[in-house]
Chain length 480, copies 2
């Protein structure tokens, strides 16, 4: 196997998009499916998704939501009931026109999102204020036709959770909207080691049919922004379209306020582009299919001695709750294995040769580099959990420093253009969509969000000089 | 709320189909979706599915399989590559003809099952005997257009796992086929408390494209059979259609032998129809969203006293690993709650009133009836796990007795017809499909399987008198 088959053939700085495509394929995460824009998520990639699912699902359940499952097929007329919603999604729909050997009387849309069908059902289930809040979540696939598909980031079919809730009041629904956003920010930080900026989308970037859209934005290693989770307050838009009404304690018939929020398989791409390097993936421990790979050293007889030792070590580490793999493939060299697991982003490698075994120690190599360390076999199970905690903390601080170093607070146009060429700009904006369009035409940058945590400030729009709209600086960047 | 709204309006003996439809709706498991034949799985029903998934997934992973995810959309031409496969599935396909606002050049089939797309990918991934066996599993939705949909049993869209494996030899693939079947039989017995008959389908009942199809068949309380999981040995049929080849140790290019196997949301219907009664669902503890519901007794001030006691008891039981719900709804009576949780099939109810609390005991009521028992609060966490184990054992033995009482070993036609009118017949058969059709035309019964465990025997065909084909009696019954 040649070097280019084994390692990454192209560096991040050379061609980030090519680097990404190569890494997700070579690390065994994903391949193109036969139908345009579809993906095959391979076991190593799917395991990352399962680990993310478990972390996110637990938090969603702990905050009182229940999982359910709604149909994949939605009558076309349902989408048309909410005017903005159908306008936003129409260009992306996949439509079933024939089934069971016949043409259907009404075409069925393959769900691009489930507000409409869930709205229809909520209207049946909700009658009294006692039925509220209704807090539902669904794990499912969804389909949006993509003109320029990219694995995980924009695929015709993707996997996600979509939360859908109904509430008696605006304040209850807004509290829910922000709870979901907080959950996403927490999962990004504590699970994916991604520092994100949480904020509100400007009107032009809102979800089709939403009154307010909130987002978490992560910075990828090419300086671009990736929207990594969104939470929407729908007002009473869908409640009016689907007659989701309840009788209040005072006996009045009222419309519900609804929300929806989603996080998708795109998060796998986010992890790749936040932490990866020229050797391949770097996985935060919580999402790593294997925390530790043990490589027995020495071919032939040498290897035969150490493989049982490696297995014993693996069992000890598993006893401490770690996910461990012993790479005992006889047909490939240790060097090949080192590169292979570096490509796959395993946080820690333990090398175990005959002399190590005699000395009752293994050699620990971090995925992020640094000195090799000796780890006594008897203490490995005690030491490794801390090593992994530090690994997560290091990823998070490294990514935070990177993001901050590529984020500039700017007032002038030239500084703005320079900032968004390599990262993000915090700047004042007038709020006009024509001005947003002009900024995009000149720099390819768009408003990512109005950050929740910025201080109140005011100043002239960075582009047109008119007064700022948002009472604070907003975040601009080129986006995926 | 009237009696008919609360309890089951129709008995199993009156109209089993109507009983089923009423129970799955009133217990909050499922409702019809807006598109024909689709279902909305409500939280209580979906929780049963999640519990079944966890049990089945663990067993699939423990036997060396890996989860992955393949596209929902399959180019129509892929299905046509295996002649029997396309013939079998064509009448059931849903087809996407338009996407992204345009007509597609090649229509996309919404997966009815994934042999074709997975076969296509396996051909890319497998080159050497070292790549074998390849053991994949997918949790997904699938679509088969149904003319007579019934919730859970036959729905246009269903949820399932589909295992797909490739092997170097027939014997390896057959071992895998039987391993999957054993896993299904074990899950049916140990998780769903369903005694099933495992066996092989006759050629006329085989999966489209399979060389051999195996099944587990459960008996529902109306005496009908429900196919509850199937496992297929494909021979080299799909390997030839998709070029799944490997180089053997001897250096020869060989076709793989493949398998596939699936279990679906139909299992929820199986549980309902195996254990349910005229009060509603009866859930085996492993699949029960709540093992125990605690109902505080006494309205107003009385209830206020006992609710904290009920919560304390719930916490103790949760500490013992039980799933517990305290029903403290103030607006409904204890009697309403008793009926409600009986409808929902909760195995054990604990009633706690002011006098019980003073005596430090709760009243235990089994879903299956019998004497009420006093359970000391201090010992409840110790006693309940055993109560639930016994509950599972009782369900299993009750269902086994029912099945055996409705299964007759018959040689004559009249006895056969009588047996399949209320249950199953074990009989000799000639193996001719014309004779199978005749039996079906007269009795509505079909061959369910050639049981794996029947003794070798021979005799004349129960219908036509010709010699038997299978070397043992086979199982006939009316089926869902």
């Amino acid at each position: 196997m040649t070097r280019s088959e084994l390692g990454v053939g192209v560096g991040q700085d050379q061609d980030f998009a090519a680097w990404y495509n190569e890494v997700v394929a070579k690390a065994g995460l994903v391949e193109h499916g036969p139908a345009k824009g579809t993906m095959v998520v391979r076991p190593y990639g799917y395991r990352i998704w399962e680990l993310l699912q478990a972390e996110l699902d637990r938090r969603i359940m702990d905050t009182g939501h229940e999982n359910a499952y709604f149909p994949l097929f939605i009558p076309q007329s349902y989408l048309q009931r909410e005017a903005e919603h159908v306008e936003g999604f129409s260009p992306e729909l996949a439509v079933v026109t024939h089934a069971g050997g016949k043409e259907l009387e009404e075409p069925l849309v393959v769900r691009p999102t489930s507000e409409t069908v869930i709205g229809h059902m909520m209207a049946r289930w909700i009658s009294s204020h006692r039925d509220l809040p209704m807090l539902l979540n669904q794990w499912a696939n969804a389909v949006r036709w993509e003109l320029r598909p990219r694995m995980f980031l924009r695929t015709t079919e993707f996997l996600w959770q979509e939360g859908h809730t109904a509430h008696a009041s605006k304040s209850d629904a807004m509290r829910e909207t922000m709870l979901a956003l907080d959950t996403y920010a927490e999962v990004a930080r504590d699970v994916a080691a991604m520092p994100v900026v949480a904020g509100e989308k400007t009107p032009g970037e809102r979800f089709a049919g939403a009154a307010r859209t909130f987002t978490i934005e992560g910075m990828m290693r090419d300086g671009r922004a990736l929207q990594s989770g969104t939470s929407h307050y729908m007002g009473t838009n869908f409640a009016r379209a689907f007659d989701i009404q309840y009788t209040s304690e005072a006996g009045r018939l009222e419309y519900c306020h609804t929300t929806s929020w989603g996080m998708t398989t795109r998060m796998i791409g986010a992890v790749v582009m936040t932490h990866g390097d020229d050797k391949g993936l770097v996985l935060p421990p919580t999402l790593a299919p294997y925390h530790v790979v043990i490589v027995p050293i020495g071919r032939g007889e040498g290897a035969e001695q150490v493989v049982p030792g490696a297995r014993e070590l693996a069992d000890r580490l598993r006893g401490a709750g770690l996910r461990v793999h012993v790479d005992d493939r006889p047909q490939v060299s240790p060097g090949f294995k080192f590169n292979d697991w570096e490509m796959r982003g395993v946080p820690v490698r333990l090398e175990l040769g005959p002399r190590d075994l005699a000395a009752r120690a293994a050699v620990l190599v971090h995925r992020l580099g640094g000195e090799k360390e000796q780890v006594p076999l008897d203490r490995a199970a005690e030491i490794l959990p801390g090593v992994l905690e530090d690994f997560h903390a290091l990823l998070l601080s490294r990514a935070t420093e990177f993001r901050d170093s590529r984020t500039a607070t700017v007032d002038g146009w030239d500084d703005f253009a320079a900032a968004v060429a390599t990262g993000w700009a915090r700047a004042f904006h007038c709020g006009s969509s024509a001005c947003e369009d002009e900024i995009k035409a000149h720099t390819a940058a768009t408003p990512r969000c109005v950050p929740l945590d910025g201080p109140p400030e005011s100043g002239p729009c960075v582009r047109c000089g008119r007064p700022n709209e948002y009472g604070k600086r907003i975040l601009f960047g080129r986006a995926y």
